[in-house]
């Protein structure tokens, strides 16, 4: 079965420290991968995507993600966390082929808490 796993329900980090939010996936073929962020009482906002090419993808608000095919991972990173980065982060993968090109599979989300 095709799936996305975010193994940490919550990640705590001090402001100014680097952060990593983990994501692993299980899909056939070469997937397209996404990160979205959700602030309280708001819809999801697109952060970045990996389609092909360079394994390090840069996105909005200073975030980046590293695609690792051998480990089937797509971890979200930021060199220096801000309190305003505190939010719920979702990894998503699009399986390839047929009608599946119109669907995203979302992980269960990771709550990032940045302490001042």
């Amino acid at each position: 079965a095709q799936s996305v796993a975010q193994p940490e329900d919550q990640v705590n980090v001090a402001e100014g420290n680097p952060l990593t939010v983990k994501c692993t996936y299980s899909v056939s073929g070469n997937p397209y991968l996404f990160w979205y962020v959700q602030y309280p009482n708001r819809g999801l906002q697109f952060l970045l995507k990996y389609i092909t090419g360079d394994n390090l993808v840069k996105g909005s608000y200073g975030f980046e993600a590293e695609f690792n095919k051998s480990q089937t991972s797509f971890h979200l990173k930021k060199p220096s966390a801000l309190v305003s980065d505190s939010a719920l982060y979702f990894c998503a993968v699009s399986p390839l082929g047929g009608g599946a090109t119109n669907k995203l599979i979302f992980g269960t989300g990771t709550l990032l808490a940045v302490q001042p």
Partner: protein, 114 residues
């Protein structure tokens, strides 16, 4: 810059009642989606549409119906609400296919079924 607008923002229903959730986008997007968000389960696709007049089932379509009579609107209907449908519902739209285009989300409809 309205983007994706969902109506209503909150609603409480009794079991067996019906209602329609409205979604409107002003970005001229072809693709539209309805998701539900439940604690610990992420977002699950209910139905989606690849253009005006078309609809298709997603991961959890049972108990819901949809219509896309106009390109800018995507309606989600609950014919006979059940407590299991208590959730936060999100509408999204995208310019192209979900596998390579970002989706733009509304702020959600919080629905409680008593």
């Amino acid at each position: 810059n309205a983007g994706v607008t969902q109506t209503p923002k909150f609603r409480v229903l009794k079991t067996g009642q019906s209602m329609t959730l409205l979604c409107a986008q002003d970005m001229n997007h072809e693709y539209m989606y309805w998701y539900r968000q439940d604690p610990g389960m992420g977002l699950r696709l209910i139905h989606y549409s690849v253009g005006e007049g078309t609809t298709a089932k997603g991961e959890v379509p049972d108990g819901y119906n949809v219509s896309r009579l106009k390109k800018q609107n995507f309606l989600l209907g609950l014919e006979s609400a059940a407590p299991s449908q208590t959730s936060v519902y999100f509408c999204a739209s995208s310019y192209g296919q979900a596998n390579n285009q970002p989706q733009h989300f509304g702020d959600g409809t919080r629905l409680s079924i008593l």
